[in-house]
């Protein structure tokens, strides 16, 4: 088996697409997405980016819903390890490549780290215009009026946008971008991030990127607050954290408990506590 499963042509193609995407922050680049032994919709985009980039010196972390032990993360991590024999870790600080589904780690990322997002739907305009040809024109025209009117209508009816995750952002003052289904809580971490952020949609065959230190802001009215998920009055039952995204879990007695969604963050809090 070839190193990292993909043939050299495929890797070259993906790398070129990545370079183009990084050169134009937030712009969607088409690429020849290969079929993998993992199903479409299950992370083939993120996987192809990781496989095209990874080498023996890397340390890989894979999370799904913030957790390294989540079934999908385990599966993907095992697959990548089996075709590269790379070092893997659950420690966010140690990883050079972090492949993630639906969350950004709580611990701030540093320069030289790469965050690879698994993306189901690459174009934020899909919510208001499903036709791909029309989407391209709208992006070219910087015409995001449909997104703005949607925001207006939601605000007049419900006081705020109805969008819960995949909240639209403006990248580098130019392109409206789909940040993948991350919570609004994480949307704020996209801007001015020290790490490289790459987005891969395998099924839709698209790649886009946010280079480090890029301006990224959520699409919102100037005179309205960007409200994020609220965990007021709650804390992690395991490490006591009051400043992380919490999971609501029901135990066998029907009682509700809250735990840090980012399991590595929780672990490291405990370690700090121990010290």
């Amino acid at each position: 088996m070839r190193y990292a499963f993909l043939d050299e042509e495929a890797k070259k193609e993906i790398r070129r697409s990545l370079l183009k995407a990084i050169a134009i922050p937030g712009y969607i680049v088409s690429f020849a997405s290969r079929e993998l032994p993992v199903a479409r919709g299950w992370g083939t985009g993120g996987l192809q980016i990781t496989l095209a980039m990874i080498n023996e010196k890397d340390t890989l972390k894979v999370i799904d819903q913030g957790c390294d032990g989540s079934v999908n993360a385990v599966n993907i991590r095992n697959f990548i390890k089996s075709v590269t024999d790379v070092n893997t870790t659950v420690d966010t600080k140690e990883a050079s490549i972090i492949q993630t589904r639906h969350r950004i780690p709580e611990i701030q990322l540093q320069e030289r780290q790469t965050l690879v997002f698994q993306v189901p739907i690459p174009d934020i305009l899909e919510t208001v215009e499903p036709n791909l040809g029309k989407q391209k024109l709208l992006h070219a025209n910087k015409d995001y009026s449909k997104l703005w009117v949607l925001l207006y209508e939601d605000t007049s009816q419900f006081g705020d946008s109805r969008i819960s995750n995949r909240y639209p952002v403006m990248v580098n003052h130019r392109y409206a971008m789909d940040p993948s289904p991350i919570p609004k809580y994480d949307t704020q971490k996209l801007g001015n991030c020290k790490a490289l952020q790459l987005f891969g949609a395998g099924r839709e065959k698209k790649i886009y990127a946010i280079p480090p230190y890029t301006n990224v802001v959520p699409l919102k009215f100037e005179d309205r607050e960007f409200k994020v998920e609220n965990f007021e009055g709650k804390s992690c039952a395991r490490c006591g954290s009051t400043d992380s995204f919490l999971d609501e879990v029901y135990d066998d007695n029907g009682d509700t408990h809250y735990y840090c969604n980012d399991t590595d963050y929780c672990d490291s809090n405990l370690q700090i506590g121990d010290k």
Binding site: D7, R40, G41, V74, F158, P183, K184, D247
Partner: protein, 358 residues
């Protein structure tokens, strides 16, 4: 008390695969060759949707999937991805097919006759056995039957609309096009598309969502040789042969790009024996390139290139549909919070209105 609601994933996966292995192992002892012969239509569906002509691999994939054909096709696609591309064979002409079956609904009789071949068209679908009928075979020949398409006379008379020829065919597995989509890419998507998806879309045209009025001009099943130029000797050699189905449908007529009135046709083609799929494909091809304004209602799916190019691939739709089983508790948490906020806002608005009314 388990904090690790989803941790312990490794073990859970292992156990799950083990359980699944119990199911798929039941077919382990089925002989590949026997499967290829006995379940020939299943095998053909898998090589077509898997986009890889290997009946042996298809047999293995079907056993590994315990009969889930789409899953089996997925195995073949993944395998195809790992195969090295050596080169491109000579373009096949379906007129060279060694026929086992060839019919034309358009004509009562045609050169070479209506060769029914093995077909279940006239099968009465009763699961119980009927009396054994005596079979009388008059003539029997082992010679190759190669007959040109029944539409050839019409083509020779220049009555059939031809579309603009592309310089070189697109390859959707190397590069996925954006609109306007080259016809070679459109045909590739359909040829390896999921049979049921093509059936549904084709069916919509038959119920009024499209003005095509198809008649099957030529439906053929048989063997085609694959010829390849040897990379070193530069000689052309036959490297094998494939079984395939090809259908040419004739539609209505319209004006071509030169302003001449011509008959419209559509082409369907797939690996193995799959008449339903090839017929559907030819009708969708007809509809895509001959959409008219006056009939068919507002939105004709079969004439919409975006619908065809992005919704017919079984591996993609199957993956996306099933991905909803993956954990989505973070996104659900966000949905729930937004819902609660909106609820609160609505109630506050109502309260204010009530106060104003007093």
């Amino acid at each position: 008390m388990a904090y690790y609601a989803i941790k312990g994933g490794e073990e859970a996966i292992k156990n799950s695969l083990d359980f699944y292995g119990d199911i798929t192992s039941k077919g382990e002892n089925l002989d590949d060759e026997a499967l290829i012969e006995a379940l020939t239509f299943s095998i053909d569906k898998v090589i077509s949707e898997g986009s890889l002509y290997s009946k042996k691999l298809a047999a293995r994939a079907i056993k590994r999937s315990a009969g889930d054909m789409l899953n089996a096709s997925f195995f073949l696609r993944a395998h195809r991805s790992s195969c090295q591309r050596i080169g491109i064979s000579r373009t096949i002409d379906v007129n060279d097919m060694r026929l086992t079956r060839r019919i034309s609904s358009a004509f009562k009789d045609i050169e070479g006759g209506q060769l029914l071949g093995p077909s279940n068209d006239y099968e009465i679908k009763l699961l119980m056995d009927l009396k054994d009928e005596d079979v009388n075979i008059e003539e029997y020949s082992n010679e190759d039957n190669v007959i040109k398409s029944a539409l050839t006379p019409l083509r020779d008379d220049n009555l059939i609309k031809t579309l603009k020829k592309e310089e070189s065919p697109w390859d959707i597995t190397r590069n996925y096009p954006s609109a306007p989509y080259p016809r070679s890419a459109v045909l590739q998507v359909m040829s390896r598309g999921e049979s049921g998806s093509l059936l549904t879309v084709g069916y919509t045209t038959m119920r009024g969502y499209g003005d095509v009025h198809p008649t099957i001009g030529d439906l053929r099943i048989g063997e085609l040789d694959i010829n390849f130029t040897h990379p070193f000797t530069k000689n052309e050699v036959k490297i094998g042969s494939i079984e395939a189905t090809a259908v040419e449908s004739v539609g209505t007529f319209n004006q071509d790009s030169e302003g001449d009135t011509k008959l419209t046709t559509g082409f369907g083609f797939c690996f193995g024996k799959n008449e339903t799929k090839a017929i559907s494909m030819s009708i969708i091809d007809l509809t895509l390139y001959n959409n008219t304004y006056s009939v068919g209602g507002d939105h004709i799916i079969a004439a919409d290139f975006e619908m065809i190019m992005h919704h017919l691939d079984g591996i993609e739709s199957f993956g996306m549909t099933n991905h909803f089983k993956l954990p989505h508790y973070v996104t659900f948490q966000t949905d729930y919070q937004i819902f609660r906020s909106a609820q609160k806002y609505s109630e506050e608005q109502k309260e204010e209105q009530r106060k104003e009314q007093k």
